[in-house]
């Protein structure tokens, strides 16, 4: 069987993927594309470890068929750092100890990123709701919330946005 070619943009790079379109996006990102920052926690949309950004929205990549990303823009945790510098979100996560084992962290970062696209000045409640789909067994979440709050404050104080923050 020949597979259709899927044209998409992943971490700002135009990519053509030629795989079985019924495989999950999570599987293809981790395997053929080597983006192992995307984690498989449950594989069924319950834990959020696999969250990536698809067309500016957080999605569970384990619930997206790779064929469905045709003409879409995907952002994974590997796409956050720019020119050797950590994204402010990553910087704040590190400063605030917003992770311990780190397994949930890529998904947390992407859910937080997606929130800050839509809402650059979220309340604590809004942050908690945005990460409601990201389970963490280590941190009890509060440091994650603080990291997101400080990121939004930093971006606003420096008149930067979640997507354009360097330079």
């Amino acid at each position: 069987m020949t597979f259709p070619i899927i044209n998409c943009t992943i971490n700002s790079k135009s990519i053509q993927v030629c795989v079985d379109p019924s495989r999950t996006l999570m599987d293809v990102l981790r395997t053929e594309l080597g983006l192992t920052g995307v984690k498989e926690g449950c594989g069924q949309g319950d834990c959020g470890a696999c969250v990536v950004i698809m067309n500016q929205r957080a999605v569970n990549s384990c619930l997206v068929l790779v064929g469905q990303i045709e003409d879409c823009e995907i952002l994974t945790v590997e796409g956050l750092a720019q020119q050797g510098r950590l994204h402010p979100l990553q910087q704040k996560f590190a400063e605030k100890w917003a992770f311990q084992c780190g397994f949930c962290t890529p998904g947390m970062l992407m859910s937080a990123y997606a929130l800050l696209i839509q809402n650059p000045d979220p309340s604590e409640q809004e942050i908690r709701e945005a990460i409601a789909g990201n389970l963490c067994r280590c941190t009890n979440y509060h440091k994650v919330v603080e990291a997101v709050q400080e990121t939004s404050q930093y971006l606003m104080a420096n008149q930067k946005t979640i997507g354009v923050w360097y330079g």
């Binding site: 019924s22 957080a58 569970n60 068929l65 945005a130 789909g133």
Partner: protein, 289 residues
Amino acid sequence: MQVFVPKTIAEALNILQDLREKAKIIAGGTDLIPHMRAGSIQFNSLVDIRLLKLSYIREETGYIAIGSNTTHSDILNSCIIQQNYSALHQACQQIAAPPVRNRGTIGGNLANASPAADTAPAFLVHNASVIAESTRGVKNISLDEFFRSPGKTALDPDELIVEVHIPVPEKHTSSAFVKMGKRNAMAIAVASAATQITLDSDGRISEARIALGSVAPTPIRATEAEAQLIGRLIDTQAIASIEYAVNNAARPISDIRASAEYRNQIIFILVKRALLRALEHQNAFIVSE
């Protein structure tokens, strides 16, 4: 697994007619893909409806038409829904979590026909109907007749939900949806209740709709309780008076989430909360005896 991506509804319907039970329609995939992963599937093809332009919320004369591929997040972003269909808005708010709401669709939620489907009680009190198409034509199915048993609907295997219609509510109508889960998010409902109340110029209830989720093989209306509210002034007595009828309508089972006894215990409380929440909107105040 073969994946078809039809570019028109006609193309989709032809594929479904050819393959029938061997094909499953995939929209957001939030229910379907976990089923596929669990291996408990009898189909070998998928029909992806993403190119069929079924993602919209349109004002028509006398009703709103919601495309079946409209996501729960799209519903939350809709001012029309937020202002006029609180039960549906609140139901979508309480589904899972943002990444699931960004992909899951209202068509999929109804077609999957879980007894715990969150949008179902809301759509039931909003008097919804499902518009389904096949190569044989178009069907308009009242949601009251749509759910047959857990996971089974009135749809034929080759039918595709294209739209859900909800009539424009009368004046002085308000609604609400309340859900009890084992946690605040990412929880399948242990029990849920939706209400829609219309008041006449004397403040008496002229229309009442009450729907219950997760307490029967399908989402259901508590029609006996509804009838008992008609013509009454809303007060604590009126609400208390329907407890027996609500409990009679519920026939829950025990499962991994809760016992039947617990569900029986809480369902009227949820209905009461949903009634009070709906009535808050109308600045109606409850006269206590």
